[in-house]
Amino acid sequence: MISKIRFLTTCMVAVLLGACVQERPEIILSKKSAVELRAMQSRAFETGDQDKAFRGIIATFQDLGYSILKVEPDAGTVTADKLAQLKMTASAYKRHENRLIVRANAVVKLAPDAIGQQVDDPNFYLQRFFEPLSKALFLQALQVEDADGPAAAKAGESVKAAEDRLKFEEETDRKKAEEEKKKLEQGTQNDGTP
């Protein structure tokens, strides 16, 4: 009887210890696509003044109660953390003469000793970063176009509306591409027949 109990205890201890060894990932990444994330995390601003934008980001972080962890003015990146539970990195880089792209990425911890999870809610980035930032810069946060991926939500536009607009734009692009393909095919056929 005693040996049975001893055996059971050993088993339980082994299971417990096994749990301790289990490797924990450093951060839980979002399941959303990279394109989707990029769209919600980026905004364009009509200014060429990178220094102003950079200081605007720092001021916004301080307004929101973050403390600054790391600043790199030459690279245009700031990492800030709020009460050891929410960590955000923002970077500002020049796109054209008169246009800056700001991108922010946030990781949240459910408990102080928990694993960080990537925040992937467009509303979070809009309400808790880009709206305060555009107020600090006195500039509108614009959708990001061109090579940087599809447009993000325009200022004041709801997420649903932005998604619908994105879908519509993708659809029109696809249709255009198909039409061009057809034209090309027709063109080669016409060339082929005497």
């Binding site: 600054i68 962890l69 003015p73 709020k82 928990a114």
Partner: protein, 193 residues
């Protein structure tokens, strides 16, 4: 009484944390809550906090202001964790004991009361705290003045070694004391906004 309310608040906070961890609330919602701008308990808007945290100085010399701030940090026992003249940023932190005999006694009392009723509550109290101070300088557009903004927050670790509470410090006195010391070491007169 004050101790009791602190304990009550921490019990409620732990309960909420427990709920969060159990998966009732998504990580995005928690990020929304934590990411919200800090508000005073009475519901004062951010603008007030900004004016508490900011003073205006008649100089454009950011380097001088940051050097004075470094001295003030050192006078107050803070170590520098990050600084950049180009960006006008200076960050410091210090660790302090946060144990209060009243809170410890109160927490143990509660555990005893619960134990008498047959349930187990592990006594928990604040053990140490880390205070983080962030200071930024920003030249005021079209003037020869510079705004200095400072913000304090603290992260409390309990007797089990877990970080369990954190808050932005909203007490106006703390900011006033900082600026008094800072103005002296910068040899400048501070102007409220």
């Amino acid at each position: 009484m004050a101790n009791f309310s602190v304990i009550f608040r921490s019990v409620v906070a732990s309960a909420i944390l427990g709920l969060l961890v159990s998966g009732c609330v998504s990580h995005n919602e928690i990020a929304m809550q934590i990411g919200a701008p800090p508000k005073a308990e009475e519901g004062k808007p951010t603008l007030n906090l900004r004016s508490i945290q900011t003073r205006r100085y008649k100089t454009l010399d950011e380097q001088r202001l940051l050097a004075a701030a470094t001295q003030t940090y050192q006078d107050l026992g803070y170590g520098i964790t990050e600084s950049s003249i180009q960006a006008g940023v200076l960050v410091g932190s210090k660790e302090r004991d946060a144990e209060e005999s009243g809170q410890v006694a109160g927490s143990i009392m509660i555990s005893l009361v619960f134990a008498a009723m047959g349930s187990v509550v592990i006594p928990t109290w604040d053990q140490s705290q880390k205070i983080v101070v962030t200071l930024t300088t920003s030249p005021v557009v079209n003037t020869t003045q510079t705004d200095v903004r400072v913000s304090f927050d603290r992260r409390l670790t309990n007797n089990h070694g877990d970080l369990w509470r954190s808050e932005v410090i909203l007490d106006e006195k703390i900011y006033q004391e900082f600026f008094d010391k800072f103005s002296k070491s910068a040899f400048l007169e501070a102007h409220k906004l």
